[in-house]
Amino acid sequence: MSVSLEHYLVVSAVLFGIGLWIALAKRNAIIILMGIELMLNAVNLTLVAFNRFVTLADGRPALAGHVFVIFVITVAAAEAAVALALAVSVYRTRSTVDIEQIDLLKR
């Protein structure tokens, strides 16, 4: 059997689900960030798969998917840098990155 677009989409959906689960259920802020990165990666997989299997109307190869993935990677890298810096600076003031203990606004 050959690999079709649906296969990639299903893999991507499963990865997205796992990333969402990590982001929702974990206690450590850095691990939550990792879940978000995983979700972004799942979306990247979808974009590349569509780019591979769908052709433009005039028959030219589509490139928008690849270009979009490049931008997503760029933004994700920037996001990772800022979010991890936030985690480090939260740690400096609160001595923890446990999201359940960072609850100053609830009190």
Partner: protein, 199 residues
Amino acid sequence: MDGFGVTAAFWGLSALAVGSALGIMLARSLLHAVLWLILAFAGLAGLFVTLSADFVAVAQVLVYAGAVGVLVVFAIMLTPNSQTGNSETRMVGPGLFVASVVSGIMVYIATQTDWSTAARGDFPATALEIGTALTNRYLLPFEVASVLLIAAMVGAIVLVRAARDEPERRELAGEGEGEVNTAEAAGREVVAAGSHGGH
């Protein structure tokens, strides 16, 4: 295009990516979780190769497995007290429920929709075409992305910068401090103010 090799690679790499992603959830140690994450990124890069997206695959390895992986490792080393546990909150059950519902809806849509796919020959060299597209049609987003990167870099430096007079933490992250100081040295001219809003 789909020989036996591509099919086998797809199933193997998918299993690798999904398994490693579950590994992040199940790992007991934070560092193991990071290693699983990097393995998942590597598996995804392999999946990109099976989609004949060579440039994106290499960029994935470079940025995610390399740069983001090292960043996360440094972040974990710089927050040492929380180093041991990778535990969950109470939300583990509800989180699994929400995630499976979202995932199930997406799987349902993906399998039920009649995608108008077209078989296409292999994409021999995407690097040149991506470069051309980035400097012509997508020039404005490209420039905006570079501005974003600068802003993120400066922001990250400002956030983690230690004040001059504050004694620095030197637990496990001995040389990690050295790294931060290097980043400071690089950005010293652009950073004017200190960072300690919290104090």
